[in-house]
């Protein structure tokens, strides 16, 4: 039982990181209809920026975190202004490929600047642990869950009550109608990229926390967040969170139990478990758990 609780907690902490990345996907998708493959690069960028502020410049960790999120967000907005803006009205496929191209370029720029080595982010949590009953809870996971919860609450408050949030929701619903009501749609696009890259930066920092956990391969997390996003439904922020947590828990439980109980599934089956869950759920619900069903007109 202790094992089970331990795994569940680890799964939730992992899932919170997936949820943050998936949330970034959903924000851009909702506003612009584009799946942003470059999200993984923004995750890595955020983590490396935080490293730069913390270790190279020696700023306090909290300041580094905030700065990384802000700078990451402005780079996201800049990318949208510079590249995606020119693609308005082009086929979605072209836009998606554009983000793939951006992913390749950004990833290499990151390794160009910071190299291939594994780095130490220098977070204050390190290896610290808290013991509750028999379950050992790493402090960084507690912080991750806390930060994710705060961001999510902020998200829902922002979309629910702020003017900009309303503008974003209106744009997602119907671009032309939103424009006709005076919403600056272009600004909404740029803003959605900024928000998404900012959340990605936060996810990156929580992923890179701990000793020697920062390496260029960190962007791969975004690939595992795809199932989380799709599972919840592409356009549902709440779905992204639930999808993320679900995938996190399922993956950790698989990693914990599959080698003993289902060894024939092969080594490190937990890596592909998210995709298996995704395919199974999509076969039953083609628009994910909470996605909007597409209405097609002739």
């Amino acid at each position: 039982m202790t094992d089970f609780l331990q795994l569940c907690f680890a799964g939730l902490a992992l899932g919170a990181r997936y949820a943050l990345v998936a949330l970034g996907f959903v924000v851009i998708y909702k506003a612009t209809g584009v799946i942003n493959f470059a999200q993984g690069a923004f995750v890595a960028l955020g983590a490396y920026l935080a490293f730069n502020f913390r270790q190279t410049w020696g700023l306090p960790f909290a300041v580094s975190l905030v700065l990384a999120v802000l700078v990451g967000a402005s780079i996201g907005a800049g990318t949208e202004r510079l590249l995606l803006h020119r693609m308005v009205g082009r086929p979605l496929f072209a836009l998606i490929m554009m983000t793939v191209g951006i992913l390749f370029v950004l990833n290499e720029v990151i390794t160009w600047i910071w190299g291939q080595r594994t780095l130490n982010l220098g977070d204050p949590w390190g290896q610290d642990k808290v013991t509750v009953g028999d379950v050992v809870l790493p402090v960084k996971d507690l912080w991750t869950l806390g930060l994710a919860a705060v961001v999510l609450a902020g998200f829902f408050a922002f979309f629910r009550w702020s003017d900009l949030g309303l503008a974003m929701r209106a744009t997602a619903l119907d671009q032309e109608a939103a424009m006709a009501r005076g919403v600056d749609v272009k600004r909404v696009f740029t803003l959605s990229w900024a928000v998404s890259a900012g959340v990605a930066a936060l996810a990156g920092v929580t992923l890179a926390a701990g000793p020697a956990a920062l390496s260029p391969g960190i962007w791969l997390i975004a690939l595992a967040a795809f199932p989380a996003m799709i599972l919840g439904g592409l356009d549902s922020p709440g779905g992204a969170v639930i999808g993320g947590l679900l995938i996190g828990v399922v993956q950790t439980l698989t990693a914990g139990y599959q080698p003993q109980h289902l060894p024939w599934l092969g080594e490190s089956f937990h890596v592909i478990m998210p995709y298996v869950v995704m395919i199974a759920i999509l076969m039953v619900r083609p628009y994910g758990l909470y996605g909007t069903k597409e209405v097609v007109r002739l």
Partner: protein, 365 residues
Amino acid sequence: MTRSSANRSLVRSHRDDVRLWRTVSPWGVGILVVLAVMAPFHTSDFQNTIAVYAGVAAIGGMGLNLLTGFTGQVSLGHAAFLAVGAYTGAYLGQELELPLLLWLPGAALAGALVGAVVGPFALRLRGNYLAIITIGLVFIAQHVFANWTSVSGGQNGRSVTAPVAVGPVDFASLEVLGRSFTRDQGFVFLVWGLVGLVALTMKNLTRSRTGLAMQAVRDRDRAAEAIGVRLARYKVLAFVLSSSLGAMAGALHGSYQRYIHPGEFSLTVSITYIAIIVIGGIGIVFGPILGALFVTLVPRLIEEISPSLPFVSTDTAGGGFMTVFSLNQAIFGLLIVLFLVLEPRGLAAMWLRLRLYFRAWPFSY
């Protein structure tokens, strides 16, 4: 009625529109074929190696083009089909010792079967959902081939010694009129012969009823359905054909390289194939051939010139410098972006425009 060659481009009926040699004379193609056959004699083994890889990529690319370019189903799972083909070809050719004429079609058939299993996903899922689920395929295929050790040799891969002989003609040690050819030269003939065959098949397919139905599905699937195109049939068919071509490319890749391992069939390969059709020209039959040549040649070119670039280094550990591999990846990404912004229909469109310019001369604009 005889037509002069000046009249070739005149379109007066549907028959004219779908004519195979509408703008190219068979003579021109003949000369091109002769040149292509001559080429491997004058190139080095290294250049022939590149030509073989480009040819393999062209075959796989034409498969993906049929699915994505002509039927409009975005798939990021092409690497999975390549893997299926590569391992099937290796198993049939090596363990079962079947000849080329059996293991290559066998690999294509295995790809077609997997395509037929995956195809129905496209009926249930649309657009983005389909693209992401096909990413899942790549990871699942990699996992299967990393663990199915009796066939795949596991994570470390396996050797491939599938024979490449058709009857008495062995492409690995070709001998014609007393002259012997290297293995690389032989493979250039084999692979590019197949490229020609596949391109002709594609051209014929896309101008047939089936091809037109697929393009109708691409342009607007619901409208196509409303005028009587059976969505299920054509979507699944596109998946089957596309994945069998992908599998064929994978099998050729394996037999040429004589070694395969699961890491070779990663998501990056799928993305490279998408880049091949984007850069080459999406929805144009010969586009992937141009794209494959381009995507295979550019990295070599960069390797050639990189020693003279000051910011490129061979040291992978420290920051501040870029490795040749990184530079390649970055330029690859940049090319995708630039082509999408500046020339969305790719190299093939450049060629078509150039041709139009000369055809309309002296009234070109």
